[in-house]
Symmetry: C2
Subunit: 191 residues, 2 copies
Amino acid sequence: MAKKQTRKQLIFEEAAKLFRDKGYLATSVRELADKVGLEPSSLYSHIKSKEEILQKICFDSAQKFIDGINEIEKLNATPSEKLKALIALHITIATEDSTSVTVFNDEWRHLSQDVLKEFLVLRRDYESRFKNIIKKGIELGEFKNINPSIALYTILTSVRWLHYWYKPGRQLSPTDIEKDICTLLIKGLKE
Amino acid sequence: MAKKQTRKQLIFEEAAKLFRDKGYLATSVRELADKVGLEPSSLYSHIKSKEEILQKICFDSAQKFIDGINEIEKLNATPSEKLKALIALHITIATEDSTSVTVFNDEWRHLSQDVLKEFLVLRRDYESRFKNIIKKGIELGEFKNINPSIALYTILTSVRWLHYWYKPGRQLSPTDIEKDICTLLIKGLKE
DNA sequence: GTCTATACGATGATAGAC
DNA sequence: GTCTATCATCGTATAGAC
């Protein structure tokens, strides 16, 4: 049932790759049409607009992070364990679906006003929940007393290069990467 | 002598802000002209092209990082101390000149082919020198034995959110931020 | 240096035949 | 659903008068 790739799916996939490689604005509808083997106008039988594609990518990715943090919050676990799970979540999403995540990370600002607003609400909410876990850890004395926002953003962005470096064929598996990044962020680089 | 702001300087400054806020491609020459109070065509008495501005921003920023690492490599210091100095360098540049750094970070890919190539050579060289300091630290047993590339990119990107969060008026000074980020990356979040 | 006027290509998107 | 034809708009940049 989910075996056959519809043309619509193909369009979204090729668009994601182009958006990732060149950026949303630098990707033309003509170029996308070319990639999927259609005339530009034919695309519009499948999509409403170029922005519709960006919207889907951004909100689908956002949903993955939200689903992840929903599960993690439910865990009966310490803040340390939750933080580890969050880092793992980011690494999993970044390695399993690197194309979408790149677009989600870098191109969201080209969403049109109303949609952008909606997107930023989701993001702010996610960040706030992530930060609460850090705060709780500090409160309980599990974490060092550093500024929670600084910790949050440092951790959030410190996995944002993965999509650009990680290639499925590499010697390092996502698990290896996760181990090193967790070590670095939680125990520090210093021996 | 450097007191008077020339119109050319004003153009570059306003362009940097627009590129930062909207992205290079989303910024039109018409809009830039409007910001500096000129007709679009008049800009071309001061600049050769829109891309010339992007080039200047990217290469000027690159030079700051290169100057910084030049000095740090000369220090008679341990890898730990050099790493701290490198993190401080990134934070200083990101807080003192956040506009340019944002553009440098996010918009370099819109440089045209030849210039882009040149830029990537500089970046690769910088990253390689940064990585060597990490490798040396691992070799000497000062740092944990984690993958040097992972450490490099985690550290590099972990200061890349600053320009978006840091406002000169904040309660936290660049020194405070530097302290927390260094603690997090070097000693880890865990107490 | 600044202006008005404009070239001219690329853009996202639509109309309507098949 | 796909095509050809086309639109309106906007992009960077230039020409030439003042």
